[in-house]
Symmetry: C2
């Protein structure tokens, strides 16, 4: 292998091993030695790429964010109406986390590392901005009702909080398996406050069908 390719393979091995250890043990209890052992690289190779456990955790957050964003972008930037995209991406995050340890570790480390930053900027702020764009578009498309004093920003903050909080409660109580069903219920309870009564059945069914996919 060319040197650069080898370096990339090493970095990827370290990130994958780190994600697995972080998901299992959490940030506080994860040890660099265990990560080194599991990745099969040397201590020197790990330190070539990451200077500390914190640096490694931020690297996992960055990579998890890239992977999740890839799935999210394919849903939210296509021709799908924005409210359907919002519903769909709440499931995409769950599916990505259960299929990919790096996404799962990202979601966990965000909280544990304390400042919600990868190596570059705030992860939750990035989500907030993505939600604002989608809510703004759903309002323009006539699917989300605008009332007197409700800015898309306010609604985006509420939605992000409800979805993120559903992850947090499931994480805290070890109920990952129930997450898709709980997400469907979040939409069930929230939709009456977001859409015209005439559209409620459609969007509730949309959320239920997405669950069964």
């Amino acid at each position: 292998m060319a040197r650069q390719v080898r370096a990339e393979v090493t970095r990827a091995s370290v990130l994958m091993a780190a994600a697995d250890v972080f998901v299992r043990l959490g940030y506080a209890n994860a040890g660099l030695n265990e990560i080194i052992e599991q990745s099969g690289v040397t201590k020197g190779a790990l330190y070539f790429h990451f200077s500390s456990k914190e640096d490694l955790a931020r690297g996992v957050i960055d990579e998890g964010q890239v992977r999740l964003t890839a799935g999210v972008t394919s849903v939210s930037d296509g021709p799908t109406p924005a409210l359907e995209a919002l519903v769909a991406l709440s499931y995409v995050a769950i599916e990505a986390a259960s299929a990919d340890p790096i996404v799962a570790a990202m979601l966990r480390l965000q909280h544990e590392i304390g400042d919600y930053q990868g190596t570059d900027g705030n992860v939750v702020t990035a989500w907030q901005q993505a939600f604002e764009r989608l809510v703004g578009r759903a309002v323009d498309e006539g699917d989300i009702r605008t009332e007197e004093d409700v800015a898309p920003e306010t609604l985006a903050t509420f939605l992000l909080g409800s979805l993120l909080g559903t992850h947090v409660v499931a994480t805290a109580t070890n109920a990952f398996d129930e997450l898709p069903r709980r997400m469907e219920r979040v939409w069930y309870f929230i939709l009456p406050g977001l859409v015209e009564p005439s559209k409620l059945v459609y969007f509730r069914q949309f959320a239920s069908r997405r669950l069964l996919r």
Copy 2:
């Protein structure tokens, strides 16, 4: 002072200093030396009460939980209708966290310590159970509509997720000052899915007035 009283004062000083440092720096960056310095106790005195940073963090979580529960119990066990108690206690948690660093640290450390445990059991599970009782009572009182397949447990999980997530997003983006207003919006958006249309105006106003108190 009698020895026991002195020990309690020492323990309280350490907890308060620890809470302040944890809130400012987060679990990962908080140092025992800084906590010792700020508390004004000796290293030996600290280690008499707490064996490690982790032990200290769990002590802060325990104490924060006790203090928050005191405020919550006075709201939720009185004659107040349960849905009003649920609205009120979402503000009580914000007010307690802004008035008392130990409660603020508890809310932060819950996530950062990774397993959501104090020294004794899961903090989020305890909240979940309290929410279930209140939701069950609000259903009995006729304020929360029951639909076909919605168990109080499901609704409690949803509510807890939405309220906790609102804290998480505010913590992550440094927007504590906006929390009361955001909490009022959470109820504004959620209530249409919980109550009869004829009661919507009353409960939305209840949430708004509680904000202004």
